[in-house]
Amino acid sequence: MTHNAWLVPALPLVASLLTALFGHRLGKNAHWPVVAGIGSAFLVSLGVLFGMEHPEKFLLMDWIHVGSLQIPLEFGVDGLTAMMLPMVTFIATLVALFAAGYMAGDPGYTRFFSVVGLFVFSMTGLVLSNNYILTYGFWECVGACSYLLIGFWHEKPSAAAAAKKAFLVNRVGDLGFAIGLFWLWTIIPDGNLSYDNVFGMLKSLNETDRLGIGLLFFWAATAKSAQMPLYVWLPDAMEGPTPVSALIHAATMVTAGVYLIARSTPLLVGIDSMAPIVASIGCLTAVMAGFYALTQTDLKRVLAYSTISQIGFMFMGIGSGVGSVVQFAVVAGMFHLFTHAFFKALLFLGSGSVMHAMGHVIDMRRFGGLRHRMPITCWTFLVGSLALAGLPPLSGFWSKDEVLAALSQASHASEASGNHGVASLYSMIYWVAIFTAGMTAFYTFRAFFKTFFGPEKLPSPTDPEAAHDDHHHHGDDPYFGKESPFVMTLPLQILAFCAVFAGMVFAEPTTGWFAHLVEHSVGFTELPHPESHGFDWVTAILGTSSGLIGLGLAYMMYGKPSDLPSRLAKTFRPVYEASLNKLWVDQIYHAMFVAPILALAQVCRYFDTYGVDGLVRSVALIPRNIATGLLLRFQNGVIQAYAGVAALAIVGLLFILVFT
């Protein structure tokens, strides 16, 4: 089955093209090609998953061959790929189905599905690629799809600005990726950046080069996966349609950075300074984004910050890879990526269902108590929240627990190798992560209670934002204030099922299937073999209690009417303001980077007009009169005159030649 892997990106691509070309003829059924294309891609990826025995690669064709640079179109199937493909296509199928209901009636219906198909093509290509430069190609393509989908409602100035911001911040990261590739290309003797070739030549590469390249790749990952310092684009990306937020900006694309670092594990193994950096950035991001999420009133932004925070957990997992923990660390990080995809897609689609019913209002202050009106959305959202809060036995618990266990093992391993500084760093990260788990439970249930509990409240039909948002006039929308249609609630229920079981079926302490799969990746057999550890009960209990405390606090403050939140906000005014304004990072970045570049641009503009050009113009003044005279005599013979000049020049040339 694995040799059919190329079908996984190909089917959505064909579907996307068909939709682009003929979609307008299908009208309301324009989603069918893409839903069918992604759905069948999912079936093929299941075949790949079950058919894979050992890593394989397929050279489809040469893509780019310029000078001595060769970029083949080369796919590989190994553990990481076989795990990512079904996950991406499964969630994409459900999201596309959901979108068929959510986007119904939108004037850009066909465009939406066409770009979604293109995205699934790019994303599956990204995880199938067996070559660093090809990965870079798909990496940029998913960014472009994200750009097109964030700016989907292009008349909205905020959406247009968010799309550009997302692309630019990602380009800042991509530059790091590109420079990493340049560097790698110059040190790999045959210039072949296939994964297996690169990982096979590790012995001839020195540590400085590997660390530098690894840090550049991580720089790229912080942009794509919205980590410090380049996370700023993701919250704004919520301007896109909610299914897009679920698919691209929560479940799949934003985790590409985690995938890249996991993929590059063999390249970085043995460099002990890399992992602590990754873990620290992940930890800082996780706690900071959790802090922002505490006070947001926009339901989608709460989820966006929680995505940033959870990806921070994934990096903490991968960043635990010191010494013999490497393999366990990668498995933990990737496992969290895996379970997160289900419950975060579920939560985003749930918020989309709410938005759909509320006439595209997403501010939690303007609605509440929706549990009776939207029972399916409410209960599936609850499942997602429990999973995100990491409470057993839901999926989030198992993966979060593995991340925490990896951190604790990293601390022990560093201690054992006599690296006390690093050991205490890891144990600090461990405690911060446990604290962040509590914060996660708190803000998640804050959102849940605010939306579904308390007295029922709906946005007024004359609400200006509700009326003008996204071309929907909810006054005559049959779904206003009602549970969403079956095509939307079905994906919610399927995802809720997965959010419950995706953890316990695959986790290390139960079956270990996930770890077993990931171990079958290119270059992973060389990794230090993990010592077998028993289930870490202490970590499990600590993590769970932290989550329960967060849940309990959220219930106390938001589960029933209470003035506690506003009193707290008053008491801790500066803290509240700092969280609400997200530490003013956007403003600081603008002042530090955007404004100076724009100012420099103005300098260049004036310099060009009055500096360079002025200089030249003063020279040009001399023959100007002559030339103006020429221009006045367009009709009578300037061509002849010019030809005469040219002829003279040639005569001169001959003259010189004859006498040399």
């Binding site: 692309f167 221009l631 001959l654």
Partner: protein
């Protein structure tokens, strides 16, 4: 085949003469039909050359004669010959010229209302001149075409341009003529030195023969790696004219002016093809004939190219006039192209060569889109425009693809050139490669900002009130409803904006098609370039004291050199 090549070059010339002679009698419709017929015929007649081209050959093809005596005798003494031929470096530019000429004629279809026959005659003169230039195998012939292309362009800008057209055309003229004179001096020196010290001691004007002869020349001062050496001196002279054509910072100030004033057709050709004459000259003469000069001057060249790439991008970022923005983007992109050429290895030079074609396609399409907008709104001020996506979905698609192609999105054409350029430069000078890499960010910044201001946001059109005119609402909606994007704006649909006409689609769509095709399947476009560039890069390796990446072995050499240094 050799006669077909000459026929291709002559065809537009015949058309030009007919139109020029018949100026008084031809009406607008006839003149433009003749022009379109001629450019299409030239495109078709030139096609067999593409399919017959042998990609494994690095020397000229489709030429009369053979090495030592290319072409047909023209002026007996000295032996200046009528030699035409194409190799991997020129064939792409040759075909690009034919393609962009169709776009140029289409862009003039409605916008040129007066002295129409003269306009098309000038376009066709330019067409013939450019084809001849790229196909010339003789230095004198090359130089004649090099200077000749200026004449029609001068009049295109000077007669059919905007309000400040005189200053623009005069600036263009002076810059190019001054640069051209210095280049001529350089060429004369090359010919005479080759005649005197070359292996055959024979006066020759043939470009391939001189290139080969200079490479084999055993004359001690020729190989001097000094700042005052012969090759350095000649490099500078040749470079003067070509750097102005490119234009490389700081010789670019004629370009924004010329673009803003030029009619759309002029801009398409100027950015699409004429700038490439500079790049072509640098490859053919500077790199091919004076490689030591390139090596000696490398730091200066790299600094100029990097500065140009960043400076052009920054200046583009500050523009409000969309055409000026695209013009400055050309300065930036041409800086990147030069960077590839100056990387002095096969990857960079081949990347720069294919990027010249890519840039011709994307910038040609961008200028054509700007022309479409200008023709309807008579403004290029982006602050007066907005939300045109709903108005003209086809234009939005074209502009978006051209923009994404221009910012080197993988899968579109720009990536095929930009990535090799940067990686090639990085192999030679990591600092220059990284600095130039920042233009990836700045390029995306100004390009996407332009897209955002023009296409995104609520509909904004200059000079029209917001009153509702029900009669027009229906017709406009019918027009703008080609796609699925008709969002049914209410009050804004008060004026009649024509949808894209067939001629506009014919002018832009082929460029968009090639933006996709080159991006997805670059092989057929790059394969002819590689062997020709290998040959030039081999000349570079000869002159380098320590070989850099002329081929894939180089990184190995570097890597193995490193441990040795420890």
């Amino acid at each position: 085949m050799p006669s077909l090549l000459i026929l291709t070059i002559l065809l537009p010339l015949v058309g030009a003469i007919v139109l020029f002679a018949g100026q008084a009698k031809l009406d607008r419709g006839t003149a433009r039909n003749i022009a379109l017929g001629v450019v299409l015929a030239t495109l078709v007649v030139g096609l067999p050359l593409v399919f017959q081209f042998d990609q494994s050959v690095s020397g000229p093809q489709f030429a009369f004669g053979k090495a030592g005596a290319w072409g047909l005798p023209w002026i007996g003494t000295p032996d200046i010959r009528l030699a035409f031929g194409l190799d991997g470096i020129s064939i792409g530019l040759f075909v690009l010229t034919n393609l962009l000429m169709v776009s140029a004629v289409c862009a003039s279809w409605e916008s040129i209302q007066e002295r129409v026959a003269l306009h098309y005659a000038l376009l066709l003169f330019l067409h013939s001149g450019l084809l001849g230039l790229f196909a010339s195998l003789d230095i004198v012939l090359f130089y004649i075409f090099f200077e000749f292309t200026l004449i029609p362009l001068f009049f295109l800008v000077g007669i059919f341009g905007g309000p400040d057209r005189r200053r623009a055309s005069v600036t263009l003229f002076i810059y190019t003529v001054v640069g051209g004179m210095l280049t001529l001096m350089g060429l004369i020196l090359l010919v005479s030195l080759h005649a005197q010290y070359g292996p055959l001691h024979k006066l020759s004007f043939s470009i391939p023969d001189i290139t080969e002869g200079l490479r084999q020349m055993r004359w001690e001062p020729w190989a001097s790696e000094s700042l005052l050496g012969w090759q350095t001196l000649i490099f500078i002279l040749l470079f003067a004219g070509f750097a102005i054509k490119v234009p490389l910072f700081p010789f670019h100030s004629w370009l924004p002016l010329a673009h803003v004033e030029a009619p759309t057709a002029g801009s398409i050709l100027l950015a699409g093809v004429l700038l490439k004459v500079g790049g072509y000259g640098i490859i053919r003469f500077n790199l091919g004939m004076t490689p030591v000069g390139a090596k000696v001057l490398f730091p200066l060249l790299a600094i100029l190219a990097v500065t140009g790439a960043i400076y052009g991008a920054l200046a583009a970022l500050a523009q409000k006039d969309i055409k000026r923005l695209v013009a400055y983007s050309s300065v930036s992109h041409m800086g990147i192209i030069c960077l590839g050429l100056f990387a002095l290895n096969a990857t960079g030079i081949a990347g720069g060569t294919i990027q010249m074609i890519n840039h011709g396609l994307t910038t040609g399409a961008l200028f054509a889109c700007v022309g479409v907008i200008y023709e309807r709104y008579h403004t290029r001020d982006m602050s007066a425009l907005g939300g045109l996506w709903n108005r003209m979905p086809k234009l939005a698609f074209f502009l978006m693809v051209a923009a994404l192609g221009s910012i080197a999105l993988p899968g579109l054409n720009g990536f095929v050139g930009e990535f090799p350029i940067l990686i090639g430069m990085y192999a030679t000078s990591p600092v220059a490669g990284i600095l130039a890499g920042t233009s990836m960010i700045l390029g995306a910044f100004y390009t996407l900002w332009m897209v955002q201001r023009v296409l995104f946001g609520p509909l904004r059109e200059p000079g029209h009130g917001h009153h509702v005119d029900h009669e027009h609402v229906g017709s406009v909606e019918a027009h703008s409803g080609h796609g699925h994007d008709d969002h049914g704006h209410h009050a804004e649909h008060s004026i009649q904006i024509d949808p894209l006409g067939w001629h506009e689609v014919l002018g832009i769509a082929p460029l968009i098609l090639f933006i996709f095709v080159i991006g997805l399947r670059p092989g057929p476009f790059v394969d002819p370039i590689n062997p020709a560039v290998e040959k030039i890069a081999a000349g570079m390796v000869d002159v380098r004291s320590k070989p850099l990446s002329a081929n894939a072995k180089t990184p190995a050499a570097k890597a193995s050199a490193k441990p040795a240094a420890h």
